[in-house]
């Protein structure tokens, strides 16, 4: 019986992969996380599946959690690679191009604390209301507001050409 997950897949997989890619900075990891999220939400008992009132919300929570879990593992691997000199070299991009701007965004996002990054991505990429962002991350709405404010400020600074040059 495929319908229970296939409909949700059609509705949510693109946004989930995009959000998780921005969260992790790694699309392959993000896709793995989305696969795991669907498996977690739709791979349980029939009882659990029947209790899915809002599959999109459950999938978002599962995908965000999976991304965080897998990113931690990936971080450990990266540190080992760096220690043994096997990490890939940083790319050299032409300043001012869209590709370079996205690269800067990616690095700026990576520099944010995880919850700050998650708030910014959920709020501004998935367009979730603050209450839903709070629900996904299990934090108060007030924290969502402050994390969002600080996260956007950090991104703005990182993406501003003038401030980049000054720094």
């Amino acid at each position: 019986m495929e319908d229970d997950w296939a409909t949700a897949f059609g509705s949510h997989y693109v946004e989930l992969v995009r959000a998780c890619t921005l969260l992790s900075g790694n699309q392959a990891l993000a896709e793995d996380a989305v696969v795991n999220a669907f498996a977690r939400v739709y791979g349980g008992s029939a009882r659990r599946r029947r209790a899915l009132y809002n599959p999109g919300a459950y999938l978002r929570v599962a995908a965000v959690n999976e991304t965080r879990r897998m990113s931690r593992r990936d971080d450990r691997r990266s540190r080992r690679e760096a220690r043994f000199g096997t990490a890939p070299p940083a790319s050299e991009l032409v300043p001012g191009t869209a590709v370079e701007e996205r690269d800067r965004l990616r690095r700026a996002l990576a520099a944010l604390a995880y919850k700050q990054r998650a708030v910014v991505v959920l709020r501004h990429v998935l367009d979730l209301p603050e209450a839903d962002v709070a629900g996904v991350l299990g934090i108060p709405i007030g924290s969502v507001k402050s994390l969002n404010h600080r996260g956007l400020a950090a991104l703005r600074q990182a993406l501003s050409p003038n401030e980049q040059e000054e720094s």
Partner: protein, 457 residues
């Protein structure tokens, strides 16, 4: 355009440029199918016979109001009532990164008298508890209860007519019924025939006795149409056995299988002090280990055997280096649906290691882990849920991750129910701590009623 708008613009533009790779749908389909297969195995493999014999204090964690917990395991505080899980539903197992703020939440208490050694088993839908004894007396119970995971409510279960009650039985979910095997009914020479309880109808069927007599605390494993019954004690005061048989509950027929390479049972408590401890887990077969401790230098030899199909396969012995103050190993649990077993309760403070049985007949061993538990002994309780274990001992508890990919494992301290007389179970999507209480006849602890808690955040 404000700075904020520009950032949002770049974010959206970047997100819009990300196109999911081909084949994702197929990967999702496979992932869901694999997990559903694994979930079915959980129902088959979840069997525990209890040995909660030692008194302890009451649970220290106060009841707390319910909170929405989503299907994916993370706390969700939704704004609309429609998004909450059904009232009474059990809290979902907390995700690893939320375990630091986990707590135990009361659920409805079991509607049974305080007792020791009831048989416990789970299906996808229910937790079944039956039998047991009244500590300090000769009384054995023939009643029990059924917890509905969907509603979080209990229903009392009366035993079959004429059943005198028994303690030390084992139970398993098999082909739509809970099957109780073995146990001590106070009559030497048997009479503790297997019983099958159908939760849909509330009816019992009495099945034929094992030809070589019923045992207490036998290890049960659901294998196709049959239930494999391995080991168990001849009587409460008797020796552990290695006999292995298979019962087909549909026909009542028994078959003898090759005996296990050493005596085994579900009760680590009763093997304590033997110096060569058998510890047994249910995975995709029966995995049993025998740890011979070589003095106080921390060296131990682990011999292991796996019931694969109908024959026992003994694996090459493994040397492990444990802490110097080594106690008898106490308890083993299996990661349901896989072949990885956590062995814990090896020393003071407690240590653990993992053992993974490969299909080619070899095994791999994980590193020695230090658990944040005061002791590792025969009162430890363990439960497997998804990719990690939960281990409890008196007032301490921990979660151990299974390790993935590169085999890394983590240990997370948990709050713990302050009692020793309890079972840990991973069932119904939750981690449950079940305290079977202490009767007023128990001279070692104040009376307390049975209680059930679920781990939540």
């Amino acid at each position: 355009m404000t700075g904020e708008d520009r950032v949002e613009d770049i974010l959206r533009s970047h997100a819009g440029s990300i196109e999911p790779g081909e084949g994702l749908r197929e990967r999702v389909r496979s992932g869901i199918a694999a997990r559903r297969r694994r979930h079915r195995l959980v129902g088959t493999a979840a069997v525990v016979a209890t040995a909660g014999l030692v008194a302890g204090a009451a649970f220290a964690v106060a009841p707390s109001p319910g909170r929405g917990v989503d299907q994916a395991g993370e706390r969700v505080e939704m704004e609309t009532a429609d998004d909450h899980p059904p009232a009474g539903a059990l809290p979902e197992v907390p995700p690893e990164d939320a375990l630091g703020r986990a707590r135990w939440q009361d659920i409805a208490p079991p509607p049974v008298e305080a007792r020791s050694s009831p048989a416990v088993a789970t299906s996808d839908e229910h937790l079944f508890v039956w039998g047991g004894s009244k500590e300090g007396t000769e009384r054995r119970y023939a009643d029990g209860a059924l917890l509905d995971f969907r509603t979080g409510t209990w229903e009392a279960v009366e035993g079959p007519p004429g059943e005198p009650g028994r303690a030390g039985a084992s139970a398993i979910w098999h082909e739509g019924r809970f099957v109780v095997v073995g146990g001590w009914n106070g009559r030497s020479g048997g009479g503790a025939a297997p019983l099958a309880f159908d939760p849909a109808t509330g009816s019992w069927e009495v099945l034929p006795e094992h030809p070589s007599g019923d045992k207490t605390d036998p290890v049960l494993y659901s294998s196709g149409d049959e239930i494999v019954v391995a080991g168990g004690f001849e009587s409460p005061a008797g020796s552990a056995t290695a006999t292995t048989g298979a019962l087909d509950p549909a026909t009542g027929a028994w078959r003898e299988l090759d005996p296990a390479p050493w005596p085994l049972s579900t009760s680590a408590y009763d093997h304590a002090g033997s110096g060569a401890q058998p510890a047994t887990a249910i995975s995709s077969g029966i995995v049993t280990m025998r740890l011979s401790l070589a003095g106080q230098d921390g060296a131990a030899e682990v011999r292991s055997a796996v019931l694969a199909g109908e024959t026992w396969r003994t694996l090459p012995p493994e040397q492990v280096e444990l802490a110097t103050d080594v106690a008898d190993p106490a308890s083993v649990t299996a990661l349901a649906g896989s072949d990885t077993v956590l062995v814990a309760g090896l020393s003071r403070p407690s240590q653990a290691f993992t053992f993974t049985y490969q299909s080619d007949g070899t095994a791999s061993w994980g590193p020695i882990l230090e658990l944040p538990l005061e002791n590792g002994d025969d009162h430890m309780r363990m439960a497997g849920a998804d990719d990690r274990w939960f281990v409890g001992h008196y007032g301490t508890a921990a979660s151990v991750s299974a390790g993935e990919g590169d085999g890394e494992q983590t240990v997370v301290p948990l709050p713990a129910p302050q009692t020793s007389s309890y079972d840990l179970l991973a069932a119904g999507g939750a981690v449950l701590a079940l305290d079977w209480g202490s009767p007023d006849s128990n001279l070692n602890a104040p009376p307390r009623p049975p209680r059930a808690l679920a781990l939540t955040t």
